[in-house]
Amino acid sequence: MRKITLSKAVNEALAEEMRHDETVIILGEDVAEAGTPFKVLSGLVEEFGTERVIDTPISEPGFMGIGVGAAMTGMRPVVDLMFGDFIFLIMDQLCNQAAKTHYMSGGKLNVPLVLRTNMGATRRSAAQHSQSLHAIVAHIPGLKVAMPSSAYEAKGLLKTAIRDDNPVVIFEDKLMYQDSAEVPEEEYSIPFGEACIKREGTDITLIGTSSMVQVCEKAAEMLQAEGISAEVIDPRTIVPLDEKTLVESAKKTGRVIVVDEGHQSFGVTSEIASRINEQAFYHLDAPTTRIGAMDVPIPFSPALEDITVPTPERVFEQAKKLVSGELINAA
């Protein structure tokens, strides 16, 4: 199968959906000619014109709000938010407006909007350009949250998101835009709420989101060399969450590590771990543990930044401890 970059996969998904449905439009800063700083959207304005690929001023709450209004009245906007960190600027439009409109209207109004943004540290971009804020969005009922882990997922999930009648937020890892993966030529989409078992194993389950799937896969390789069989699961969407697949795997292996790049406290790792504890408790042979980003703002200095994010080595060490039965976190 051909291999394309995640950036190209996103571009293809948008182009395909814009061809299918002329209500699909793109709104955002430097999305047209510049194709965004990450050059993800290059070529779209040439095909679809500035009527549908719309450059906006640096007015995030403004164009997000315009996106919500357009979505409620017949368009399918894909709003491009240059950095995930800017979510904090649009919180009202996203969380008070988009997320609640369907509910508040008793099901009579829809907001079929996609917010495409990104996440991920280690670009040496410091505290305001490195955050992974998906958990904050996932906390708000009414929003769906997708976290592609490769070009394949990026395309399939984005297509589903655009066709979804609810507001969907997609977090792409900005370090992965140039990573290639096998992506079919023919059209496909990936349903929401279906986790993907990336690798089967029997001794421990590693649940990773977005780029942490790769981290888990690398850890699984390292574990295999030690004779430990790790199962790697990618939930793909955290809202809705495919609890069943996660819990089944937890029951099978009896040990789980959840890895996510959001801050560890009050985050995705905590949520998934607690669901596993609730539903697979009597099958657990070790405490379900979490590895998230350190609970500090992301520092600039490489010497500091690198230790704030989960690494394959940390997952590997933790997995070994759990499998060996070492006493973890017990008084």
């Binding site: 007015s59 505290a127 703002p297 520092p299």
Partner: protein, 333 residues
């Protein structure tokens, strides 16, 4: 160049020249560090806009406050920062102004009234206005200058705070550095109508000024700073300027949004340093040789600081969870 010899002393003029040269030199070194992969991350160059930061900051006291932007090295130097701690910060070293935690986009010499460089476009509009409120309430006499780009005028926050600043007569000067572009887009494509007229709509006295003429910027700034101290603020300045580099280092192929000829024109005909140099010589404030010597000194100073920063240690990893809260030394301990 504005004809203001009488008002500007030789010392002041030479100091402004030196500060502009220092900014340019800092940026050239930063660019070099980036290109040679010695600098982590990327950076936004201030080269071309030196007269704005210097003209304004030379009108301020060290206790006056400024807020800076992603393109903030110039503001930092102009407000009195030292090369060593700046280069250390740029390289993520322990001795940096922010102990390596901030990097290029957050370099600030806090001890000289710099309240921080902000990586959120328009993110400091509230902060500067708040500093002006403090000044008014505490009667410190401080003036706050908010530096921001033309792109930031699209942020709704600006209109909210300008409204309040005008209502409350706060000693704040909004300094809009209009370099003609917001990222890869021409300002006229993202800003409707007149920028100064927006401030005027709130009853804020506004000026458009040639941001490549350091004397003009300085003269106007002195007047407005004085008036702001007396409670006549706020003021709005639109400083017409230009950035020579791409939006950030690495924005190399930019002809799709900006012609090379346009860049050349600004570099060759409107460069603030070249113009100031000619002005100094013309007014016999300095000789060619003296100015060459000054530039050489600055260059050597910068090179020494770069060498120092390259060898300086990174912060100890134990610093990673420090400074999250004021009252918890190590938040994860």
């Amino acid at each position: 160049m504005s004809n203001a010899k009488k008002k500007v002393s030789a010392d002041d003029a030479l100091r402004m020249f030196r500060q502009m040269v220092r900014i340019r030199t800092f940026e050239n070194n930063a660019n070099q560090l980036y290109l040679s992969a010695k600098m982590p991350g990327l950076t936004h160059m201030y080269s071309g806009e030196e007269a704005v930061a210097v003209g304004i900051c030379e009108a301020l006291l060290p206790t006056d406050k400024i807020t800076s932007t992603h393109r903030g090295h110039g503001h930092c130097v102009a407000k009195g920062a030292d090369f060593k701690a700046m280069f250390c910060e740029l390289l993520g070293k322990e001795e940096g102004y922010c102990r390596g935690k901030g990097g290029s986009m957050h370099i600030a010499d806090q001890s000289n009234g710099n309240l921080g460089a902000n990586a959120i476009v328009g993110g400091s509009l509230g902060i500067a206005t708040g500093a002006a409120l403090t000044s008014k309430l505490k009667k410190t006499g401080d003036v706050a200058v908010c530096f921001f780009g033309d792109g930031a005028t699209a942020q709704g926050l600006m209109y909210e705070v300008m409204n309040m600043a005008a209502l409350w007569k706060l000693p704040v000067i909004y300094a809009c550095e209009n370099n003609g572009y917001s990222e890869y887009t021409k300002t006229e494509e993202i800003a409707a109508g007149s920028i100064t007229a927006r401030a005027e709509a709130f009853g804020i006295e506004s000026h458009q000024v040639d941001g490549q003429d350091v004397i003009a910027v300085n003269e106007l700034s002195r007047t407005l700073v004085d008036r702001a101290r007396k409670g006549e603020g706020p003021f709005f300045l639109e400083l017409m300027t230009y950035r020579y580099h791409g939006h950030h280092v690495g924005d190399i192929n930019r002809e799709y949004y900006r012609a090379k000829s346009e860049e050349e024109d600004w570099r060759e005909n409107r460069d603030p340093i070249i113009r100031m140099r000619a002005w100094l010589i013309e007014n016999k404030y300095a000789t060619e040789a003296e100015l060459d010597e000054l530039s050489k000194e600055v260059t050597e100073d910068a090179e020494a600081a770069v060498a120092y920063a390259l060898d300086a240690p990174y912060p100890d990893v134990s610093e990673v969870d420090m400074h999250v809260y004021t009252d918890i030394e190590h938040v994860l301990a």
